[in-house]
Symmetry: C6
């Protein structure tokens, strides 16, 4: 992947930080399976499965820890 998609972990608000955590989680998938057509086909498998959605939320939570620490938890906002 030659494109620049992550130049900073700093975000203006916690919500943007949460959305960056989602981006990081998706990129982790995309680096492992770069074929977007395959990813598209797999979507119903997890988007309609409760445990898969919990697992997705889990990865987002881990990445949000990183983004939140980077932003010193947006304490000064």
């Amino acid at each position: 992947m030659a494109d620049v998609w992550l130049s900073s972990l700093i975000t203006a608000t916690p919500q943007e930080g949460f959305e960056l955590a989602i981006t990081l989680s998706r990129r982790g998938v995309k680096y492992t399976q770069p074929d977007t057509e395959v990813l598209h086909k797999l979507r119903p498998d997890y988007a309609n499965n409760a445990d898969s959605l919990t697992a997705a939320s889990h990865v987002i939570a881990i990445n949000f820890q990183t983004v939140a620490a980077a932003n010193d938890y947006w304490r000064k906002k």
Copy 2:
């Protein structure tokens, strides 16, 4: 999602922090599957399954780490 749902990680008490962790965990699911009707249908799958409930509690625990650190563990309370 254009609405603002997360403007701060700071809460008055640890219990409110725990409840924010639950919100974060649910939002992680909702960003992945925004269709609330689908989410509603999936509810019995995990709400009546011991391992799914443990997995849900796991994600809450991760998010609670983040919220607790943001609040310096409510030490001054």
Copy 3:
């Protein structure tokens, strides 16, 4: 849940901290499935399954990290 069940993360000893971590883990389940009758029925499912017990211990370990950090690891005791 209107009741106050978590007013502080500070405990007198590490063991009480571990027990608080267990409370947090159970509350994570209970917020997701508030029906105590359902929870009671599900108990044999995980209490007699080795992997489910490991998963329960896993969530406790995560919450214990939070409680231990809040108490500065009870270093001054």
Copy 4:
């Protein structure tokens, strides 16, 4: 459990800290299933299953993070 089994997270060496992490992991199981006879019966289920052993090692790793931080990583040793 009225007995005192955890009075400190401080250990003399990293290895003792790792062993304390194992104790914490087992206690997490035991608080969930206090019946030692049941636990004894379940032992073959996980002790002979590769994924269960990895899961056990995972919980130990989480608890070791806590114990290692408590001991400031035994840096002065």
Copy 5:
């Protein structure tokens, strides 16, 4: 493995840090199963499975926490 593949956790940008986290995740696999032919055969198993891809993204997220902390979250960039 006698070759040097990890001489520093410091990277110029967060994106390079994320890519290092991917390298660490793959090395964790490769140390456990060094036979590249076996790894090649297993690829379709996880690259076409939604839950396996989420699990891969999970490990990357953990390693990214480490790399991000090492780089002080690239805050000065």
Copy 6:
């Protein structure tokens, strides 16, 4: 286990730290199942399974977090 296998978390390089994380992960398994013959028999179960290898890499990633923090991320190297 009476032998001393972990006297320090400090390593000269990040790569040695990663290898120590692997040792910690394996020890977590070995404390749970000390019978090396059983472990040997189980090896094909996880070494040829993509999800098991990801799970192994996951535990290594957790332990690497600990070792990396202990070494202050080898920043001065």
